[in-house]
């Protein structure tokens, strides 16, 4: 536990010394936010929710994209540690075996939360408003934390398995596109049959809808359970996968 904290402080220091990684993480989602609200937004028909502003509608999807681009740095940082000798040094020291991994996971969580806060700040400047109470915001935070942890463990697997620095971050690209095939940008009603079916049954739609309902103070319905099931399920599978890759990598280096 102490080992994990010591190592987390180390990688947080890395981020403090190159804060551009957090800014870069936030720039793509912010650019998308601007593009979709000010360029495409006027042409997008939200259907029944005509009184809802587009920035309010769009924000949850943008937040998920922020996390997806943020975790690419997690696998990149992990890859660099493995590449240099420092990981072997840690492994040859009397510390908790999984501490170096957990340190990267905690660092990822902190870095992503900061990037998320930046994006929310920009959204507020663009007119995003919510009257939701602390409990609803706590719900939003909780789901984002779960989602970040799930993607982080995927990032850990990618970083452990990568052969090059480019390969380490490459796994994030498909994740960046999933929100486009969901209710994040436009309602699914207007999509053709098979696309609509996919959009309504992939994790992003339920998570996006839940976040939207939480801060819009609407009834949550079934979505919240689907969203939680996806997040927790993904987290468990990603964690098992990462630990398996870790054990294999550590016995074969």
């Amino acid at each position: 536990m102490i080992d994990t904290l010591v190592l987390t402080r180390r990688s947080l220091r890395h981020i403090l010394r190159s804060p551009d990684t957090i800014v870069t993480t936030a720039i793509t989602p912010v650019a998308m936010l601007l593009l979709f609200v000010y360029v495409f937004g006027g042409a997008i028909d939200l259907g029944g929710d005509a009184d809802q502003s587009y920035v309010d509608y769009l924000l949850p999807g943008i937040l998920l994209i922020t996390v997806a681009s943020g975790v690419a740095y997690t696998s990149y940082r992990l890859f660099l540690d493995l590449q240099g000798g420092i990981f072997e040094r840690f492994q040859s020291m009397p510390i908790t075996r999984s501490a170096p991994l957990w340190a990267h996971v905690l660092t990822s969580l902190v870095a992503n939360l900061v990037a998320l806060a930046l994006v929310v700040l920009v959204a507020l400047l663009m007119g995003f408003r919510s009257g939701a109470g602390p409990l609803a915001w706590l719900g939003v935070l909780g789901i984002l934390v779960l989602f970040t942890l799930a993607l982080t463990w995927l990032a850990v697997t990618a970083g452990l398995a990568a052969k090059s620095a480019d390969g380490a971050g490459g796994f994030a690209y498909p994740l960046l596109f999933l929100p486009f095939l969901s209710s994040a940008f436009v309602p699914t009603d207007g999509m053709p049959g098979p696309v609509r079916w996919f959009a309504e049954h992939q994790p992003v739609t339920s998570i996006v809808d839940t976040l939207r309902h939480l801060y819009a103070e609407q009834p949550l319905g079934q979505d919240v359970w689907t969203a939680l099931a996806w997040c927790v399920g993904l987290l468990v599978v990603a964690h098992l996968l990462a630990m398996r890759t870790y054990r294999r990598r550590m016995s074969a280096c």
């Binding site: 102490i2 220091r13 240099g84 000798g85 492994q91 009397p94 016995s251």
Partner: protein
């Protein structure tokens, strides 16, 4: 002081698929000595070091370090050793001092900052201690690397090719550092592909070839394996290294 061997290896084997890297290694390293493991690239030196430092499991045979079996008591072994791998295992983004403090904290030592300052001055890095390691020269990086391995005074130190890739001056700096260690009772097992390095540093030398130790002993023992030297008159020319060091004005 114990007289039991600091490192004891018997019948150690390791294969990667069909490729046998170690084919039965036997070696006994007395405490407080500098032992050089000499071998060409691919002879299995790094594999052996990784097994001894618990990073890799052997297929067969036994190895113990500081009295602890590497397979059965890996944690006890890790408490007794430090590994300086082939690539300087330092954190480039942190300063030299922060690197040392990090290791001291991971070893749960008291007063990590005092330990760091002490090692910085011992390794002539006090002035550079507050700078990021990315700005260090190759020799400084290696010295910091070795200093990090000395945090907590582990009785056994593994140095895997400590001078590969260093310029002649840095190499001499590292040599001086290593010979000082043995004076303090630390057991050092170092691997090298430079014959001169083994000759300069080691109390005993083992030659690893094709996965086996084919010769081991003191330099005199090894020399005795060859017929006695014939006396010849050879015009002594300075080596390029002598010239280089004279011209650049090395003070060593």
């Amino acid at each position: 002081m114990t007289t039991a061997p600091a490192i004891e290896i018997a019948g150690l084997t390791k294969s990667y698929g069909d490729h046998a890297v170690l084919r039965g290694v036997d070696l006994s390293v007395p405490p407080g000595s500098i032992y050089a493991l000499l071998g060409s690239n691919g002879a299995g030196k790094t594999t052996l070091i990784k097994i001894l430092s618990t990073l890799l499991h052997a297929d067969d045979g036994r190895a113990s370090v500081a009295g602890h079996d590497v397979a059965d008591q890996p944690r006890r072994v890790r408490e007794s050793i430090s590994l300086t791998g082939q690539f300087a295992a330092v954190d480039e983004i942190l300063t030299g001092r922060e690197n040392l403090v990090l290791v001291a904290q991971l070893r749960h030592l008291r007063e990590p900052h005092a330990i760091a300052d002490d090692l910085l001055s011992r390794f002539d890095l006090s002035d550079a201690g507050g700078r990021r390691v990315a700005t260090y020269s190759g020799g400084m990086r290696r010295r910091l690397d070795i200093a990090m391995s000395l945090v907590g005074d582990p009785p056994v130190l593994f140095l895997d090719e400590p001078t590969t890739g260093l310029d002649p001056q840095s190499r001499i700096e590292v040599w001086r550092t290593v010979s000082e260690l043995a004076g303090r009772g630390t057991t050092v097992l170092l691997t090298t592909q430079y014959l001169e390095e083994a000759e300069q540093l080691a109390d005993r030398i083992a030659i690893l070839h094709d996965g086996r130790i084919i010769a081991d002993g003191t330099l005199a023992d090894l020399q005795a394996l060859l017929p006695p030297a014939a006396v010849e008159y050879v015009e002594k020319r300075p080596t390029l290294e002598d010239i280089f060091l004279t011209i650049v004005g090395s003070n060593s």
